[in-house]
Symmetry: C2
Subunit: 128 residues, 2 copies
Protein backbone atom coordinates (compact mmCIF):
# COMPACT_ATOMS: atom_id res chain seq x y z
CA UNK A 1 0.00 0.00 0.00
CA UNK A 2 1.39 3.34 -1.07
CA UNK A 3 0.45 6.23 1.16
CA UNK A 4 2.49 9.21 2.31
CA UNK A 5 0.96 9.10 5.78
CA UNK A 6 2.12 5.50 6.21
CA UNK A 7 5.61 6.41 5.02
CA UNK A 8 5.85 9.04 7.75
CA UNK A 9 5.88 6.33 10.38
CA UNK A 10 9.20 5.08 11.70
CA UNK A 11 8.58 1.35 11.57
CA UNK A 12 10.78 -0.99 13.58
CA UNK A 13 13.15 -3.36 11.80
CA UNK A 14 10.28 -5.87 11.99
CA UNK A 15 7.93 -3.41 10.30
CA UNK A 16 5.93 -2.66 13.42
CA UNK A 17 4.87 0.35 15.45
CA UNK A 18 3.71 0.35 19.10
CA UNK A 19 0.06 1.32 19.57
CA UNK A 20 -1.57 2.58 22.77
CA UNK A 21 -5.36 2.35 23.05
CA UNK A 22 -6.99 4.96 25.27
CA UNK A 23 -10.68 5.36 26.09
CA UNK A 24 -11.58 8.63 24.42
CA UNK A 25 -14.11 9.67 27.04
CA UNK A 26 -12.63 8.49 30.36
CA UNK A 27 -9.01 8.93 29.27
CA UNK A 28 -8.15 5.54 30.71
CA UNK A 29 -5.30 3.71 29.01
CA UNK A 30 -6.78 0.34 28.12
CA UNK A 31 -4.12 -1.68 26.35
CA UNK A 32 -0.91 -1.72 24.38
CA UNK A 33 -0.30 -3.67 21.19
CA UNK A 34 1.56 -3.52 17.89
CA UNK A 35 0.56 -2.63 14.35
CA UNK A 36 2.15 -3.25 11.00
CA UNK A 37 1.56 -1.24 7.87
CA UNK A 38 -1.39 -3.32 6.75
CA UNK A 39 -3.10 -3.31 10.14
CA UNK A 40 -2.80 0.46 10.45
CA UNK A 41 -4.16 0.96 6.95
CA UNK A 42 -7.06 -1.38 7.80
CA UNK A 43 -7.68 0.47 11.06
CA UNK A 44 -8.21 3.67 9.10
CA UNK A 45 -10.21 1.96 6.34
CA UNK A 46 -12.52 0.06 8.70
CA UNK A 47 -12.74 2.56 11.54
CA UNK A 48 -11.98 -0.10 14.13
CA UNK A 49 -8.65 -1.09 15.67
CA UNK A 50 -6.73 -3.76 13.79
CA UNK A 51 -3.46 -4.89 15.36
CA UNK A 52 -0.67 -7.22 14.37
CA UNK A 53 -0.47 -10.17 16.73
CA UNK A 54 3.22 -10.94 17.23
CA UNK A 55 2.48 -14.22 19.01
CA UNK A 56 0.17 -15.47 16.27
CA UNK A 57 1.92 -13.62 13.44
CA UNK A 58 -1.31 -12.49 11.86
CA UNK A 59 -3.71 -9.58 11.65
CA UNK A 60 -5.81 -9.25 14.76
CA UNK A 61 -9.10 -7.43 14.45
CA UNK A 62 -9.56 -6.51 18.11
CA UNK A 63 -12.85 -8.04 19.25
CA UNK A 64 -12.98 -10.66 16.50
CA UNK A 65 -13.60 -13.33 19.14
CA UNK A 66 -14.75 -11.33 22.15
CA UNK A 67 -16.92 -8.83 20.33
CA UNK A 68 -15.05 -6.12 22.21
CA UNK A 69 -14.19 -4.01 19.22
CA UNK A 70 -12.53 -0.61 19.46
CA UNK A 71 -14.13 2.13 17.41
CA UNK A 72 -11.62 4.74 16.32
CA UNK A 73 -12.38 8.29 17.42
CA UNK A 74 -8.92 9.74 16.77
CA UNK A 75 -5.49 8.50 15.73
CA UNK A 76 -2.44 10.35 16.96
CA UNK A 77 1.24 10.12 16.12
CA UNK A 78 4.10 11.12 18.41
CA UNK A 79 6.94 13.54 17.78
CA UNK A 80 9.35 10.87 16.55
CA UNK A 81 6.71 9.21 14.38
CA UNK A 82 7.28 5.88 16.05
CA UNK A 83 4.28 5.46 18.36
CA UNK A 84 0.54 5.55 17.62
CA UNK A 85 -2.09 6.62 20.16
CA UNK A 86 -5.62 5.44 19.44
CA UNK A 87 -8.50 7.29 21.04
CA UNK A 88 -11.22 4.70 20.98
CA UNK A 89 -14.69 3.79 22.10
CA UNK A 90 -14.42 0.38 23.77
CA UNK A 91 -17.38 -1.83 22.89
CA UNK A 92 -18.56 -3.87 25.85
CA UNK A 93 -16.43 -1.75 28.17
CA UNK A 94 -13.81 -4.51 28.34
CA UNK A 95 -10.41 -4.29 26.65
CA UNK A 96 -8.48 -6.94 28.58
CA UNK A 97 -8.54 -10.66 27.87
CA UNK A 98 -8.86 -11.20 31.65
CA UNK A 99 -12.34 -9.64 31.48
CA UNK A 100 -11.31 -6.33 32.97
CA UNK A 101 -11.88 -2.86 31.56
CA UNK A 102 -8.16 -2.20 31.20
CA UNK A 103 -5.06 -4.37 30.90
CA UNK A 104 -3.40 -2.07 33.45
CA UNK A 105 -5.10 -3.45 36.53
CA UNK A 106 -2.02 -3.88 38.72
CA UNK A 107 -0.44 -1.06 40.71
CA UNK A 108 2.89 -1.00 42.49
CA UNK A 109 2.21 -0.85 46.23
CA UNK A 110 4.25 -1.92 49.24
CA UNK A 111 6.97 -3.39 47.06
CA UNK A 112 4.77 -5.48 44.80
CA UNK A 113 2.28 -5.38 41.94
CA UNK A 114 -1.20 -5.52 43.41
CA UNK A 115 -4.45 -6.11 41.60
CA UNK A 116 -6.77 -3.16 42.01
CA UNK A 117 -9.56 -3.89 39.59
CA UNK A 118 -12.32 -6.47 39.43
CA UNK A 119 -13.09 -8.81 36.57
CA UNK A 120 -16.26 -7.55 34.87
CA UNK A 121 -16.93 -10.70 32.90
CA UNK A 122 -15.53 -14.22 33.16
CA UNK A 123 -13.17 -14.81 30.22
CA UNK A 124 -14.79 -18.23 29.75
CA UNK A 125 -17.99 -16.40 28.94
CA UNK A 126 -16.17 -14.04 26.59
CA UNK A 127 -14.10 -16.57 24.60
CA UNK A 128 -16.34 -19.53 23.91
CA UNK B 1 19.28 -5.84 41.79
CA UNK B 2 17.27 -8.76 43.15
CA UNK B 3 13.61 -8.02 43.57
CA UNK B 4 10.58 -10.23 42.99
CA UNK B 5 8.58 -7.32 41.56
CA UNK B 6 11.26 -6.76 38.91
CA UNK B 7 11.32 -10.45 38.06
CA UNK B 8 7.61 -10.34 37.34
CA UNK B 9 8.24 -8.16 34.33
CA UNK B 10 8.55 -9.76 30.91
CA UNK B 11 11.62 -7.99 29.63
CA UNK B 12 12.37 -7.97 25.91
CA UNK B 13 15.41 -9.84 24.61
CA UNK B 14 17.26 -6.53 24.99
CA UNK B 15 16.21 -6.31 28.64
CA UNK B 16 13.70 -3.52 28.11
CA UNK B 17 10.05 -2.82 28.78
CA UNK B 18 7.87 -0.20 27.07
CA UNK B 19 6.70 2.62 29.35
CA UNK B 20 3.77 4.96 28.78
CA UNK B 21 3.68 8.23 30.73
CA UNK B 22 0.23 9.63 31.43
CA UNK B 23 -0.66 12.84 33.26
CA UNK B 24 -2.34 11.61 36.41
CA UNK B 25 -4.80 14.49 36.65
CA UNK B 26 -5.76 15.28 33.06
CA UNK B 27 -5.38 11.69 31.84
CA UNK B 28 -3.47 12.89 28.81
CA UNK B 29 -0.92 10.47 27.38
CA UNK B 30 2.30 12.48 27.29
CA UNK B 31 5.05 10.26 25.96
CA UNK B 32 6.31 6.76 25.34
CA UNK B 33 9.78 5.48 26.18
CA UNK B 34 11.66 2.39 27.33
CA UNK B 35 13.00 1.23 30.67
CA UNK B 36 15.52 -1.38 31.66
CA UNK B 37 15.73 -3.09 35.02
CA UNK B 38 17.98 -0.47 36.53
CA UNK B 39 15.94 2.49 35.32
CA UNK B 40 12.71 1.00 36.66
CA UNK B 41 14.34 0.30 40.03
CA UNK B 42 15.66 3.88 40.09
CA UNK B 43 12.23 5.23 39.15
CA UNK B 44 10.79 3.57 42.25
CA UNK B 45 13.73 4.54 44.46
CA UNK B 46 13.83 8.19 43.39
CA UNK B 47 10.12 8.79 42.81
CA UNK B 48 10.78 10.34 39.40
CA UNK B 49 10.75 8.72 35.97
CA UNK B 50 14.07 7.28 34.82
CA UNK B 51 14.12 5.78 31.34
CA UNK B 52 16.66 3.92 29.26
CA UNK B 53 17.66 5.92 26.21
CA UNK B 54 18.07 3.47 23.36
CA UNK B 55 19.65 6.09 21.10
CA UNK B 56 22.22 7.13 23.69
CA UNK B 57 22.45 3.72 25.38
CA UNK B 58 22.39 5.18 28.84
CA UNK B 59 20.10 5.96 31.75
CA UNK B 60 17.94 8.98 31.10
CA UNK B 61 16.57 10.84 34.07
CA UNK B 62 13.68 12.57 32.37
CA UNK B 63 14.15 16.31 32.86
CA UNK B 64 17.88 16.09 33.53
CA UNK B 65 18.47 18.78 30.90
CA UNK B 66 15.05 20.39 30.51
CA UNK B 67 14.04 20.36 34.16
CA UNK B 68 10.78 18.76 33.06
CA UNK B 69 10.86 15.90 35.52
CA UNK B 70 8.02 13.44 35.96
CA UNK B 71 6.97 12.79 39.52
CA UNK B 72 5.57 9.29 39.98
CA UNK B 73 2.04 9.12 41.34
CA UNK B 74 1.35 5.52 40.40
CA UNK B 75 3.05 2.72 38.49
CA UNK B 76 0.90 0.15 36.73
CA UNK B 77 1.69 -3.13 35.01
CA UNK B 78 -0.39 -4.72 32.30
CA UNK B 79 -1.91 -8.22 32.16
CA UNK B 80 1.03 -9.77 30.32
CA UNK B 81 3.56 -8.03 32.53
CA UNK B 82 5.30 -6.50 29.54
CA UNK B 83 4.19 -2.85 29.58
CA UNK B 84 4.45 -0.21 32.32
CA UNK B 85 2.04 2.70 32.70
CA UNK B 86 3.33 5.65 34.70
CA UNK B 87 0.81 8.04 36.19
CA UNK B 88 2.86 11.16 36.63
CA UNK B 89 2.85 14.81 37.51
CA UNK B 90 4.63 16.62 34.69
CA UNK B 91 6.85 19.39 35.99
CA UNK B 92 6.73 22.46 33.77
CA UNK B 93 3.70 21.05 31.97
CA UNK B 94 5.89 20.03 29.03
CA UNK B 95 6.80 16.42 28.24
CA UNK B 96 7.86 16.70 24.61
CA UNK B 97 11.28 17.79 23.39
CA UNK B 98 9.48 19.99 20.83
CA UNK B 99 8.24 22.14 23.70
CA UNK B 100 4.70 20.81 23.65
CA UNK B 101 2.72 19.35 26.54
CA UNK B 102 2.49 15.94 24.89
CA UNK B 103 4.50 14.09 22.26
CA UNK B 104 1.19 13.09 20.67
CA UNK B 105 0.44 16.41 18.99
CA UNK B 106 -0.43 15.09 15.52
CA UNK B 107 -3.84 13.71 14.58
CA UNK B 108 -4.84 11.84 11.48
CA UNK B 109 -7.19 14.06 9.46
CA UNK B 110 -8.05 14.20 5.77
CA UNK B 111 -5.51 11.53 4.94
CA UNK B 112 -2.55 13.02 6.75
CA UNK B 113 -1.02 13.66 10.17
CA UNK B 114 -1.86 17.21 11.17
CA UNK B 115 -0.39 19.20 14.01
CA UNK B 116 -3.09 20.19 16.47
CA UNK B 117 -1.13 21.58 19.38
CA UNK B 118 0.97 24.68 19.90
CA UNK B 119 4.54 24.83 21.18
CA UNK B 120 4.43 26.13 24.75
CA UNK B 121 8.12 26.92 24.98
CA UNK B 122 10.85 27.20 22.36
CA UNK B 123 13.11 24.12 22.62
CA UNK B 124 16.11 26.46 22.29
CA UNK B 125 15.04 28.01 25.58
CA UNK B 126 14.57 24.58 27.15
CA UNK B 127 17.82 22.92 26.10
CA UNK B 128 20.55 25.50 26.52
Amino acid sequence: MNAAWLDQIEWTADGLVPAIAQDHSSGRVLMFAWMNRESLALTVAEGYAVYWSRSRQRLWRKGEESGHRQKIIDLQLDCDGDVILLKIEQEGGIACHTGRESCFFRSFKDGDWQIGEAVLKDPKAIYR
